[in-house]
Structure formats: C-alpha cells, structure tokens
Symmetry: C2
Subunit: 477 residues, 2 copies
Amino acid sequence: MDDPTLDPADWDGLRTSAHDLLDRALDRLQSARDGRVWTPMPEAMKSGLKAGLPGKGIAHDALADRLSDLMPYGVGNTHPRFFGWVHGAGNPGGVMAEIAAAAMNANLGGRDHGAIHVERQVLDWCCAMMGFPADSGGLIVSGTSMATIIALKAARDRRLDFTSRSKGVGGARLTGYASTQAHSCVARAFDMLGLGSDALRPVPCLGDFTMDLCALRQMIREDAEAGLTPFAVIGTAGSVNVGAIDDLAGLADIAATKDLWFHVDGAFGATAILSDPVRSRLRGMERADSLAFDFHKWLHVNYDAGCVLIRDRDAHLRAFSERPDYLAASTRGLAAGNPWPVEFGPELSRGFRALKIWAHLLEHGTEKLGAAITRNVEQARYLASRIGETPGLELLAPATLNIVCFRYAPVGAGDLDALNDAIVIELQESGVAAPSTTRIEGRLAIRVNLTNHRTTRPDLDLLLSEILRIGGWLSSN
Amino acid sequence: MDDPTLDPADWDGLRTSAHDLLDRALDRLQSARDGRVWTPMPEAMKSGLKAGLPGKGIAHDALADRLSDLMPYGVGNTHPRFFGWVHGAGNPGGVMAEIAAAAMNANLGGRDHGAIHVERQVLDWCCAMMGFPADSGGLIVSGTSMATIIALKAARDRRLDFTSRSKGVGGARLTGYASTQAHSCVARAFDMLGLGSDALRPVPCLGDFTMDLCALRQMIREDAEAGLTPFAVIGTAGSVNVGAIDDLAGLADIAATKDLWFHVDGAFGATAILSDPVRSRLRGMERADSLAFDFHKWLHVNYDAGCVLIRDRDAHLRAFSERPDYLAASTRGLAAGNPWPVEFGPELSRGFRALKIWAHLLEHGTEKLGAAITRNVEQARYLASRIGETPGLELLAPATLNIVCFRYAPVGAGDLDALNDAIVIELQESGVAAPSTTRIEGRLAIRVNLTNHRTTRPDLDLLLSEILRIGGWLSSN
C-alpha cells in the first residue's frame, strides 16, 4: 500500500458525510420529546451488528448511515418521561464540544497544552461552586465511582503515612462509615483499595433515610475500642434510593472530633447547590475533605463527566504522584506545566472530557442550570402530592428532593412486589415512560427519579394515569 | 424562569453554529501536516480562560468561537513530526462517531439498549484480534492504566478465593513480577489494589531490554521459599522506553508451571498484531490470562479508548459484580440484558467510547490499520540506520519496534545529558518536531516514538538535520 495514512483520500466526502450526520443528530435531539421513551434494538439490527472483524474499510457515507441507524436505540434518557436510575437528559449544545474535542484529540495525562489549562479552569469553577478552597486538589473523571476510589485512596494513604503506596495495606485495620442508604460505589472503593467492603460499616438511618449520627458515634467508639482504626466517614448528599441528604454539618463535626477523613458522595445531589431552595440543605458539604460528584446527572453534561475535589492537595498528590524517566518533568518545552493531572489519579491516558463541562457551563451559566434543578424538585413534590391524594397509590418514602418511591397498592391486591415490577416493565416496554424499581424497607417500589430538564407536569400526570390503567388491567387478569 | 429546559430556544442558531464549528474542526484536521508541531498557549489566552463561575450563558455562535480558539493549542500529536511519549495521531473520521455519541448520550453502565450491543461487538472483535477465546470477559476502558487495575484486581481476587472483596487483602503477601522496563502503571495498580508497589518485583532485563526469564524463575522460587505468595507475572508487549517485547511464550510457560496469572501490558504493542511483519513476535500473547491495550495509541482512535480482556470471564465477573436493589436485574424491559458492563469494572457511569472504536474499525478495516503500523516500524529501522551512519549521533538502544533512543554525542562534547535535554526543548519550542526524553542505562536519550500515521521519511530526515544543527549551535555557544 503506497499511502497507509488514515487521513481520508477524499476530504470533501468526509466533510459531506459529517455534516449530514450532524443534521441527523440534531434532528434526533430536536425531536427528543417525541415518540417512545425506550425502543429495544430490533433483533434484526442486533444480528446486523454481528460481523467478523472488518479487514477492509467502508466509505464515510456508509459510516454515517451505520451511526445514524443506532441513534433511535438509546436508553431513553433524552426523553422527558425517562425517570429511571439517575441519568442526565443530555444537552444538544454538547455536540459542539465533542466536535472540538475530536479535532484536538488531546491526551490530558500531562504536558503543557491548551486542554490542561481548560481542565484547571473547570476545577477552579468546581471549587467555587462547591465552596472548596481554591487550592484544593481535583481531577475530572468518568464519574462518582472513580472519584470515590481516588478520594478514598488519598484518605487511606494519608492515614497510613503514605507507606501503603509501597508496602500495601497489610495488617492496617482501617474502618470507614456510611449509611445503609449509601451507594454501592463506596463499598466497591473499599474493595478496590484492598481494605475490603466489610471495613465499610453500614450505619443505620433515621426515618427520613439519613444517617443516624448517634449510631455513628457509637460504632466509631466500639471499633476503636476493639483495636480497629476508624479513618473515614462518608456522607451522602442525595441518596440513590430516595434522595436523602445526610446531616453533613453534623458529620463534619464528628469527623473533626474523631480525626476522620470526611468524604461526601454527592453524585447528583451536590450539584443541587445551584438551586436556591436546596442550597441550605447541603450545609456542611463545603467542610468535607473530599467530594465526588457528576456533571452527567443533574447538570446534563453528556456522558461521562464527573469530578473529585480533595481539600488537602498535598495528600492528593502524594497518593498518586510518580514520575518515571519517560515522564520526567521539565520547566520548559512540552514537558512543562507541573504537576501533571496523572499525578492526581490512576489514569495516564485521559481524554478531554473537561471540554464539554467547560462548554456546558459557558453555554448555560449556573442560574439556568440551578433553575432546572429547582423545577425537578418542585415536580417531585407535585408527584408525591398527587400520589398522596390518589386512592390505590401509596408513597413509600418522603420525596424530599427529586426521587419519588411509591407503589400501586389497591385494596385487596395480591403480591404487590410482583404487580409493581410488572407495571414498570409494561411501562418501559410500551414506550410510554421509564421509571426503575428499588426496594424500600423490603417492599418493591416504583422509583421515579427526576434529573430531567425536559420533564413537564403533564408527563407526570400521564405516568400516574398509565400506572393506574396498567395496574388495574394487570390486577384483573 | 418560565422554561428552564436546557434545549436551545433557537434550534436553527445551534445548527448553524455547530455546522460552522464542524467546518473549522475539519479545516484544522485537513491542515494537520502544516505549521508548528506544538504551539504553547499564549499567556493572554491563558488569562482569558480565567474567569469566575459563569452565572449567565452565552450564545452558540460565541461558544463556537471559544471552542475554535482552543484548537491550535493541542499537544501536537496530530502533526507528522510529533514523536513524544506514545500518542496516537488521531482520526478525522472520528468526529462522526463523536457526533453520534453526543446525540445518544448513552450511559453504558448497564441496561438493555443499542450502545451495549455495540460494546459487546467491539469486545468480540478485540477477542478475535488478539486471539482470545470468544467467551472471554472484557471491558472498554479509558486506557491501559485502568485496564491493568481491572485485570490485576481479578488476579488478586481469584488468588484469594474472592474473599478479598469483603475482607481486604490483609496479611496475604502476594507478589507479582514484571521487568525493570515495565510501565509504571503496573506498580501503580499494585498500589491502588492495596498490595503495595513493593509487591511488584522488578525482574532484570537482558541486553535487548526484555525480561530475563532465568532471573524471573529464581525470584519466584526465592519469594515462595520466603513464605510469600507469587500470584502474577506481567509481560510487556512494547516497552515504553525502547519498544521491547518480552518473550511472551516463555512467560506463558512459566506462568502455567508456577500457577501464576499471566497479564500482558500491550498498551501500544499489542495492536501491532495487525502488522504482518510484527505479528509473530507477539506469539504467546494469546495465552495470557489478561491483556490490556489501547486504541488511542497505535490504532489512532481519538482519546480516550482502551480495552481489558480477561480469559476467565467468571473470575472477571466475580471480581466486580454486585447488584444492589436499585440496580436489580430483570429478564424483560429496560433492566434486562445481564450481565451489565458495570459487573466487569469499577465504573457505574460509562460513556459510549465503544462507538468511536466500532466506527474506526468499520471505517478503516484492520488491513489499513496494520499497514500504518508496519510503516512506522520500517521508519524506526530507517531512522536507526541513519543515526548509525551519521557521525555525532549515537544509538542508545536497538530499535526493534517503533521507538528509537539516541543522542547527539560529538567528540569532545561536555555534559551530554544537559546538551540533549536542551536539544529536545529547543526542538519542541521551535515547533519543528516534538520527541520526548527518557533515560537508557542512566544516559539521557532523545526518544523518538513512531505511532503516527502522518509521519513520512522526510519528516525523519528533517528531525536529524535539526538535531545536528541545534546540537552544533548549542555546543559552540
């Protein structure tokens, strides 16, 4: 082959196909409110995907068709009646940042280039938004799962005088504390870091699903007396099941008294600091040693985009930094600009996800982003109130933030768990709405999560009327 | 605010700005061969970036300008004379995949939707490409750093009967083995996983910078006799300093005999399996228990995109799977399609990076990708041969793959380390070429890495003539 470069032989062809695909992508986004929420990929298309490793390439117009054909088969989170799990609804303007990022093809592991400066600016904004000191450590990551691992590694290593980096955790019997409602990514981080998920103690909750601080104090005392080493307490700002916010100021006090690292899992809840009515409920978050949160949830940056902030920047750096010969630092040239981002996390190759965050904050500004959050909180209150006044529906937890857990429970119905599970599947498969399920005190709940800037009250009305219709139909068959 | 949706009020405005930006992005890529390799971001632009957290948004045309203004200030890896570290040169067609991904905004943590099926197909292709069984475990990740952590976690947990997940690594004295030339991400994984980087034993290398297998056998024996538990050996397919490929078949034999997990770090080297002349040198890689490699390096998929393959899919799953109530599996509806990707890695939120890999393989096909690799290998041989015949230049390591380490060493020169460091900085700052540096047996080397589909032989000729010119000028001043 004479010219094995991967640049197109026909630039005009690429240009035409890319513009054509861009129009189809924008058409898709412009009609995000229409049609079905979730459309399973047809079997014929699944089999069409299956093919041997391609030896020869295809033309750009054919590639545009292949890509465009996939677009209708998303998870549904761009639709106003997607209420499942905690998904952001995305941002049409985000396509612009992706175009620029693709052209730059930057690796943000390190070195001195424009993308690094953009990420630093985004981190400055994160500190400002969350009330962290401007000289905190931080890193843009894929999401809260990774942010939590990074934060708790810094906590682990600082407690062990950073000898754990070379010597391992060995016989150190570190223990951490999070509520029974904490997200599984916290226990997973304990597992990843070699501490074991049992070292994360599940602290009972009060009736409002927030951590019982009296129980926490007692558990810390008992563990210390048993010769263990309590090292971290993890507060939840927006629990995954019901959206509960722990008493973060109370946790900050306990952490200060007991010399614990105070981490906050604010995956979606932390960003509610932009909402005027919610802000005060997050008081204490700004005192955390570390904070993990996502941009792709309640701020609607396209997947994936999260952040970790660590107050003790030196500990953050000491938990990750190493510079072998082939990554040597310099004060001049391309290898300048120390420290490099790779010194704040486990990844050496890092795409330019900071760009879409930067562009998103520029495009919308915090006021509009906060207003969208406020609207979701008001919608949750509205939905809970409608459930409360509707016979046959039962609220299973207080809807204090953006999540409403309830069930269809008409008098005389049989197995409510099976019935409500069937209702949710029917809702999803009919394409009308997509809540998910969870269990609240053992009972299966229809779980409606509102992190969706496209949702309106009529969407919620339709959801309830469909639940009653499907529930009635399933009960009578 | 009446309508706090984040969708644009003016769709036509977004459309115009996005098309405009797309043209500017393609213009930039079409001229990737021209001009300077690396242009530091001007101080005025750095200060322009600094601004308070924006309260109000900006219009899409202004956003397009802001994004477009950043484009010239990449790290330089899209230029044919970027030779630093190991960076891929990117792919103009990749912008199409990013447009489609932005429109879908998929979260690939789980659930049953189109993106999940695309990732599965990509993993099937990875198995086929690397000679792994089709029923291997696998995951698309940000890069080899993350892939290595995932692979070694599976190795750690399988050796400890998966009790480590809940109980931690405690007193288990696991040891692993990699050559002194292994990448730092391997030791970092040991650190992350609580084993400590000291538990990774550095095995001496032979003169060709590959692992000394006799030394390896002896170290394993000594550690076992000392009561430690050897559990993993890590082979390198393409070392970061010089591109050396360990005797992978020999390592596979030792791993089988000693009951060790055999991991291969194939960050860039593994993909050279697509190159006809290189393929046979990777023999044994297909016998690995796990393999980590990148698509954004020698295959030029845009950043970031890597992969981990794990032969024992059950171990992979058992090392990561957990399904709390709010992520309960279903056989129908949106929560179907088990297992979910989140059960194969630490991340619950996962963007659709599989799409750009899928599109890239479709666009180019493996033959063309392999030919581009072959060309880089031939260029490395050419460059080494020119260095060998040029007085004043000294080759510091055999150039057996795609990396050439050498220095300017004229008779009578003084501090060669300082001189060569200065040459590299001058090359970078002049914008003519961008190699990086490393140390080979203590000596500072100019390190030319060829994972660049745009490089031509005249680019290499220019590099050498500039080194001689700058070196001569620096020596005489």
